[in-house]
Every structure is written in C-alpha cells, then in structure tokens.
C-alpha cells in the first residue's frame, strides 16, 4: 500500500497499465491446438449461419444500391459502388440453391479479396468473429448440395458452415467471361 502511494504513477502510466491488463484479459485462453486455429467471420444468410476465413475478408460494408447487370447468371446479384470502384456482388442463396424462406434483410456486404480477385458476398447480418480449430472442421454433410461441397472448407461441431474463401475467389465457375459473338 505504502509503495503504491510512494510511486504515485502518472495518469498516462495508469492508463498504460490498465491497457496492458485489458489486452491480457482479452486474449483467448491458450489451448493445445492453438497453432491450428483459423479466425473466421460468421454471418447469417437466409436463416443459416456461414463463416469465411478472415484472411480473405477485406472489409464489411453496408449494402447500398446494387445495380443489376443484364446477361449474367443469377448468382451475380449485381454491382455496387465501393468508394468509386465497381464491385461485383455474389448472392450465395442463388449459388447454393437455398430456398428463399422468410424475409431476409440483406444489409451487409462482405468484401472478399485474394490477390487481384475480389467480390462482395451478400449477407443478412454479421454474427462476429470466431476462432475455429482446423482439426474440428468436418467434411461436408451428405445433405449438402454439390455446389456447396465445392466451396466448403468444413463444418464445426457447432454446425457452423465454413466456406472456402480462396476457392470462392478463384473458381472459374463464379467468373463471367462471355461475349456476344459465339
């Protein structure tokens, strides 16, 4: 007690100490499989929860005006203006053939990026960041459709469907490259 009064830490110092404590407290408890964990961003879409590795997520933004583009497959919802650049928006519901049950809010866009490739994913809401142990990821369930299997990284025991961001970004099937001339 006496030592503390003697020291009389300055305000800055107090803040620094508190910050450091907060950081320690915020750290997730260390586990044995710490090395093999991936951080994912969970989001909800059509009453289901999906997640995608954060290393492929550049940013999340509000869904503003989406302009539909003619002559593209249904999974391309359109394009939007992202700070002066044009960004294609992919609708996973169309890609995964999800039944459109209930109302969906669709008010977020998750911008995926890997190298040059980038596009936005439509989402109803962002559920937050999760840490997932890679070895806990199971292969796809039999019930999942083919398309989903292709873009599936795995499913957690909590039934969180983790999508393969790199695959989504690199798959030629998600790219439109077609001219009018046959």
């Amino acid at each position: 007690m006496a030592t503390l009064e003697d020291a009389q830490p300055s305000r800055d110092e107090v803040r620094r100490i508190l910050d450091a404590r907060a950081r320690v407290a915020a750290r997730p408890p260390a586990t044995a499989d710490d090395v093999a964990r991936v951080e994912v961003l969970a989001f909800s879409l059509a009453e289901e929860t999906y997640a995608v590795e954060t290393r492929f997520v550049r940013e999340v933004c509000q869904l503003k005006d989406v302009t539909a583009v003619p002559c593209v497959p249904p999974f391309i919802a359109g394009v939007m203006n992202l700070r002066g650049r044009v960004l294609a928006i992919v609708d996973l519901r169309k890609l995964f053939d999800l039944p459109s049950r209930g109302l969906t809010e669709l008010n977020r866009v998750i911008v995926l990026q890997d190298g040059d490739a980038e596009f936005g994913l439509l989402a109803d809401a962002i559920d937050g960041l999760r840490s997932v142990a890679t070895k806990e990821l199971h292969d796809g369930l039999r019930t999942l459709t083919g398309v989903r299997d292709r873009f599936l990284k795995g499913i957690t025991p909590q039934m969180l469907v983790v999508l393969d961001g790199g695959r989504l970004l690199s798959d030629a099937g998600l790219r439109v490259d077609e001219s009018a001339a046959r």
Binding site: P70, V79, N81, V86, R175, E178, S179
Partner: protein
C-alpha cells in the same frame, strides 16, 4: 534541339531494351515449345517466332543497332524457310538458334554501348552458325542429315511443315517416306500442298467439325504458351520523374486541404458548443416563473447582449461559409488537377507507335515493286497508351492500303509526272476537345469515286440514281463499308473491302471517328480523330425495364420517336423505316434478357435509339431517353471479366452504378433475338435458301478441309476433284459460288475460271481461287481470267475464306 534529340534517343533505347527483352523472351519460349510441338501447332509457333524476329529487327533498326539487326535478319530468313517448309526445324538448328538469342540478349542489354570482345566473337559465331542453316534451304541442302523433330501427321494443310521437296517432281511424291522418328513410332507423313497421302487424308478433320483448332483465326489459342508475345507490351508504364514529381506536389497540397478541413471542423464544432451553452443559459433565465429584481436586471442585460451575440454569430457563420466555399473551390481544383495529371501518366508520345512504321512501309512497298517512303511529324504528341496500342492495327491497315492501292508503280508515277517514289505522310496533331488527330496521307492514285459508286451499287448500298446524286466526298467515304472494295480482285493482303471496315470499327471502339478525302490522281488522306484518353467518353442515358443504361454516343446514329403504326412486321420480325431505309427494330430489354413490366404501352409513341457497329445498324426500342453526359468507363471488377452486351459501368452523379452497353455486342445479339431483317441488304442467303458452293480441288485433304469449313458455316457443298469435273457439274446443277484450287490435273483453276466467264449461263458466278501460288504475277493472271477472289494458302484460314465468301454471295 540537339539535346532534345539526344534525350529522345535515350528514351527510345530504354524502350527498345524492354521491347527487345519481350521479343527475345517470346522467341526463346517459342523455340522451346517448338521442340515439344508437332503439326499445325508447330507451324503456328514458327509463324509467331518469325514475327518476333521480324519485330525485333524493325525495333533494332530504329535505334540503329546494326549487329542486332543482322542477327535478326538471319533468324528471320531461317524461320521463313521453316515457314515455307523448305527447312524442317531440327534439334541441330535450334542448337544454333539458342546461342544466337543469348548473344542478342547481351547486345540488346547495352543498346548504347559497344559490345566487348567476347560478345563480338560470340556474335560472329552465332551469325555464321545461323547463316549455315538459313542458307542451306535448297533440296540438296545439308538439311537432310538433320533429324527432323518428331511430327505427327499434320491435321491441316495450312501449317504442315513440308519436308525438303524432292527437287524435280514436287507434286508426284504425295507422301514422303517417314524420316526416322525418334520419339513417335507413328510414321510422320509429310506432304506438300496439292498432294496428300492416304494416311494424311484419313487423319484430316471430319467434315462435320469445321473448326479444327489448328486453323483457328484467334492467335490467343496458341498464344498462352508465349506470354510475352501474346500479352503485348506488359502492363507497366514508364513515367518520367518530372511527371511523378508534379503529382507528388499535388498530393502534398492535399495535406494542406486536410489540415484546413480539420480546422474548419473545429471552428464549426466551437460554434455549435457556443450556441448550445448560450441557449442553456437563456433557458435558465426564461424558464423561471418568478423573477427577482436581480434576475430582471440580468435579463435586460442579457437581451442586449443577445443582439450583439447573435450579430457576432452571424458574422462568424458568414465568414466560415465564405472560407468553406473557398476550401471547396480549391479542393475541386486540386482534385481535378490531380486526376488530370494522373491520367497524363498513362500518356505516351506517338513516337512509340510510329517509330517502327517507316521500315514497314518500305518493306511493303518493296514487296510490290514499288518505292515508298513514310514521313512522320508530330511524334511528340502524347496519347493514352491504351489508345496507342489500339491504334496500331488500324494504322498498319491504312499504310497497307496506301501502299497497295494508293502508291503507283515507279514507271506509272513518272508517266503521271510524279516523283518515282511515293510519299506517305503521317501527321499527329492535338485537336480540340482533348482529342488527337492523326492523318495518313499518300500522294498516290487516289480513290476513284466512280468505282466506289459502282461497288456500292453492286452491294445494294446505293441505287444507280443515288450514286449520281451523291457528292464525291460522300461516295469516297463509302469505302469504310464492309465488303466494299474498288480493287478488281480480292487478295490476301487487301481488296476484300474488310480492312477499312475493321479500321473504322477499331477507331470507333476507341470513341473516335475516321473519314477520308481523296483527289483522283493526286492522293488520299485518312483522318482519324481519337480521344486522348479512353477513360472518358460521351454516353446516351436510356431506360428500359425500369433500369438505366448508357450507350456510347459514338455508336448512336440517332434517336427518333416511333409511332405504333410505323412499326411493320416482316416475317415475324419488326422493322421500321429510318431515313427511308428499312431497319430491324428490337426491344432493348429483349436483347438484354430483362423481364418486368414494359415501361410504355405498345400503342404509344416510343423512343428508338439507332445503334451502329461497323456498318450494321439496328434500331432499339427503349422506354426513355434521358440525355447525354460525359461518363468514365470502369470495369465490372475481377469477377465479371466479360459480360455479353455490357462493356463496363460508370458511376452516375448520384453515386449509383450504371451499366455501359457494348454496341457491337448489342447489334450481334439483336440478330439472335430477331434475325436482322432487310437492314443488311445483302443477306439474301437468309431468305430461305442455303447457298450452294462447288469445290474444285485435287488434294483430298484440302478438299475435305474446305468442305468441312463450308458445311460448318451452313453452306451446301459439292466437291469435285478437278476443273474438268467442276465444269461438268456446273453445267448440270445450279451453284452460287465456286471455290477452286489453281494447280489441278486436267483443267487448272485459271482455265476453269476462264471457261466459267466465257459461259453465257454461268458467266457471272463468283469464283474464289485458293492457291499456293502467291506471286504477284499469278494474282494478276487471276484478275485477267476473271476470278473474284484470290486467297493464298499460306494465309489461308477459315475465317478469311468464309468472310470472302460472305462478301461475294
């Protein structure tokens, strides 16, 4: 002045170094691929490598690197021999070529300095090694011992690398016995055009498959193997530090703007705080129900100061408003300048494009026994590099045209009182509206408006009466119509009337315009106007199915309103008359595959936008035409590489993304939504009957190939084995066109053509001669006997053939 020239040379050398590295890289990867390839694929590679050597030669000449030039010349003739088939690529030959490439790299790396002794010696060695091979192209040459690379039976004649011809009897030995094939046990069958071995024939493509990949017209299919060559100049920009410095300064000025904006924000915040506390104190005073004496006094005082305070506040606000206005002004200026200068980073002097052209003109002219010189002025004018890249082909087309049709032979020129050598002048000039004007003028024969008129009448573009009433200038400008040619014969180089149509299409794609003026006897001048930068252009905003779209103004001919009763149904297609000409009419929403309610009911007047691409015009029904504005073209992102009918997008004033439509695609798609009606006047084969084509060709491979191509294109084809059989068949059955080989037993193509022309009944029949004989003399003989088109086999590809046939039918 001299200093400037020095600087320019230095810059040119720098550019050359980069370019050379690309060419050499492409050559060496090509040569490597050559060893692993066979048949047609190999021939395509030889062709590409040959072009690389040729390009490098031209580039080396422009920076006066004689040593590189002479090495390239040897390489070129070596590859040319491979192309002709007189030299078969063998490992030994490639062993000589690769070191030569290494020497080239060493030489090109130091374009300004002299080569050291070592390099010089290597250079001499490489040169003599190359000479040994290039020179040994005769049948009795040293090629024989060289083991040819394994080759599978060529699938098409076009690229078949022929073995050294058995000297005396080139046509007799159809299949030359297979040379020992080290890797492929299957006997490689070599054959020259005209002859074919049964083995080769059985390996020829099935007739139902008209596009063997080997004969593809798109080099892109071969290209990926040679990235440097295929991708063209890589996507880097060389920027002077001066320009970068200017941009850095402007960017730094943004710091000032940032600070100012921060300051303003603080000022506004302070004002707001002040106002809040003032209001709170007033509320304290006025909120009391009972006032003490002191309060009343305070209130009176307060009222007084209130007035003063409110004046002060007004003053502060006003000056703040003025300051913010100032800030906005200067920020706008700053942003515009920064954008402008950044765009300028993409500008390159025209000399980058024009530097290699003089040698091209000289070569072209020489090949035709003419003498022509290219002069260039205004090479300092700067243009967006993307525009420059896109202009290269059109310019080369125009130069070819000048040499082919403009410049006369020396003796004829002297006869006409001109200097024996012709002059072509390219002038670049900055034009109003951020555009650049390029003129290509020659002092040749000029375009004969009468001939153009006749050709236009033949194509159905004009009636004979129109032709007499049309002004000369207008007539001459009809040369840009696809299919129109004043040349009496179609050759592989030009005369098919396609070149200028393509030139126009390319220029228009850039948002530019092209026109031509010509004085019969004294020359022709093509004038190209292109925007300095491709990024911005004018667009017409239209609306259909409730959505906005932009059409590039350069492709919009006009906007009209159509009454319901002006729309006619012709064979289930809708047409309307625009300027008295019938034009097919389609709904834009149908072409764009949009659903949703029609914006306007069918019984009302509706706006129509007439879109032109090349020389096809289609009228598109839209719901609204909103107006015209400057737009900046943006890509649709990495996911939407190429969307049919959509060229890109722009960002409208309200921040929304609006798709920009692709005129060429729209016109193409319109044809599918409702087959284009009478708008294309010569589409007579579409009127129900399939055109019938007769083939005369003695080589079974060629015959099968050509038959396959034509049948694939939807024609009805009958094949005959020589002129005699063809003539007999022609007398029995009706045909619309004849495709004939020249060199055939019993009756050759020339004889056949002459016989057809002499016949009363079939005298008008179009005859296309397809031949290995590429000489000027043969071509002239072709004209003489009355052939309608002359395609040299070495340039033979199916698109070429089909295009020619389409023109003639």
């Amino acid at each position: 002045m001299d200093d400037k020239k020095q600087q320019f040379l230095a810059r040119l050398r720098e550019t050359f170094r980069e370019e050379a590295a690309e060419h050499i890289g492409a050559m060496s990867s090509g040569l490597l691929a050559l060893e692993r390839s066979e048949g047609a694929e190999r021939a395509a590679i030889v062709e590409r490598v040959f072009r690389e050597a040729h390009s490098l030669k031209g580039a080396a000449r422009s920076v006066s690197l004689a040593s590189v030039e002479s090495l390239c010349t040897e390489l070129e003739s070596l590859f040319a021999a491979m192309k002709r088939g007189t030299l078969v690529p063998s490992t030994e030959i490639l062993d000589a070529v690769h070191p030569a490439l290494r020497v080239l790299t060493a030489l090109c790396d130091r374009p300004e300095g002299a080569a050291d002794g070592d390099t010089q010696q290597q250079e001499r060695q490489a040169l003599s090694a190359l000479k040994r091979w290039a020179g040994s192209t005769g049948p009795e040459s040293a090629v024989a011992p060289a083991v040819p690379l394994p080759v599978a039976a060529p699938k098409s004649e076009r690229f078949a690398p022929a073995a050294p011809p058995p000297a005396a009897e080139p046509r007799s030995a159809a299949a030359i016995p297979a040379p020992p094939a080290p890797r492929k046990p299957a006997a490689p069958a070599f054959f020259r055009d005209g002859g074919a071995s049964p083995a080769a024939a059985s390996l020829s493509p099935e007739p139902t498959k008209p596009s063997p990949p080997e004969t593809t017209t798109e080099p892109t299919k071969v290209a990926p193997r040679l990235p440097a060559a295929a991708a063209g100049p890589n996507d880097t920009v060389r920027v002077s530090t001066q320009k970068l410095g200017a941009i850095l300064l402007e960017a730094e000025e943004l710091l000032g703007a940032k600070l100012t904006a921060g300051g303003r924000a603080a000022e506004v915040r302070a004002l707001a705080t002040d106002l809040t506390s003032w209001n709170q104190r007033r509320a304290q005073l006025t909120g009391r129900t009972r006032l003490t004496k002191d309060d009343a006094a305070a209130l009176a005082e307060r009222l007084e100061t209130e007035v003063l305070h409110s004046r002060a506040l007004e003053h502060t606000l006003r000056s703040l408003a003025a300051a913010v206005y100032q800030d906005a002004q200067s920020l706008a200026g700053l942003a515009d300048r920064l954008l402008d200068d950044t765009k300028r980073l993409l500008l390159l002097p025209c000399s980058h494009l024009l530097a290699t052209l003089p040698s091209l003109v000289r070569d072209l002219a020489r090949a035709q026994g003419k003498d022509a010189e290219l002069r260039v002025t205004g090479e300092d004018i700067e243009i967006d590099r993307r525009v420059l890249d896109e202009l290269k082909d059109p310019l080369i087309h125009l130069l070819r045209n000048c040499v082919d049709h403009g410049i006369e032979k020396p003796d004829l020129r002297l006869e006409r009182g001109k200097a024996s050598h012709g002059t072509i002048q390219i002038t670049a000039r900055a034009a109003e509206g951020n555009r650049v004007e390029l003129t290509v003028a020659d002092d040749g024969a000029g375009i004969d408006p009468v001939k153009v008129g006749k050709s236009a009448i033949r194509l159905g573009l004009l009636t004979a009466q129109d032709a007499t009433q049309t002004a000369t200038d207008e007539l001459v400008n009809l040369v840009f119509h696809s299919g129109l040619s004043t040349s009496p014969i179609l050759t592989d180089l030009s005369g098919r009337g396609l070149g200028l149509a393509i030139v126009r299409e390319k220029v228009e794609r850039l948002g530019g315009t092209i026109d031509v003026t010509s004085k019969a006897g004294s020359g022709t001048a093509f004038r190209i106007l292109v925007p300095l930068s491709v990024a911005t252009f004018r667009g017409v905003f239209v609306e259909t199915a409730g959505r906005p779209f932009v059409l590039p103004t350069a492709h919009v001919v006009r906007v009209v309103r159509v009454q319901p009763d002006e729309i006619h149904n012709v064979e289930n297609r809708q047409t309307m008359a625009v300027d008295g000409r019938p034009m097919s009419l389609v709904r834009l929403r149908d072409v764009l595959e949009l659903s949703g309610a029609d914006g306007r009911s069918a019984d009302r007047v509706r706006p129509v936008v007439v879109v032109r691409a090349g020389d096809r015009q289609v009228a598109f029904l839209v719901d609204e035409v909103r107006g015209e504005a400057e737009v900046m073209l943006k890509g649709l992102g990495t996911q939407l590489v190429r969307v049919r009918n959509v060229a890109g997008a722009c960002i409208a004033g309200n921040g929304a993304v609006v798709p920009i439509l692709d005129a060429a695609d729209l016109v193409e798609s319109a044809g599918r939504v409702a087959a284009v009606g009478p708008a294309t006047p010569r589409d007579d084969t579409a009127l129900g009957r399939t055109a019938r084509i007769l083939i005369a060709e003695d080589s079974i491979t060629s015959r099968t190939l050509v038959k396959g191509i034509l049948e694939g294109a939807g024609y009805e084809v009958v094949a005959t084995v020589d002129g005699m059989e063809a003539l007999t068949t022609l007398k029995i059955e009706p045909f619309d066109l004849v495709v004939s080989d020249v060199d055939m037993p019993r009756m050759n193509g020339f004889e056949l053509t002459a016989k057809i022309r002499a016949d009363k009944k079939i005298g008008e029949l179009p005859v296309v001669l397809v031949t290995a004989l590429g000489s000027q003399k043969d071509r002239e003989y072709g004209v003489e006997v009355g052939a309608s088109a002359y395609i040299v086999k070495s340039d033979f590809d199916q698109a070429n053939l089909l295009e020619v046939i389409r023109r003639l039918l």
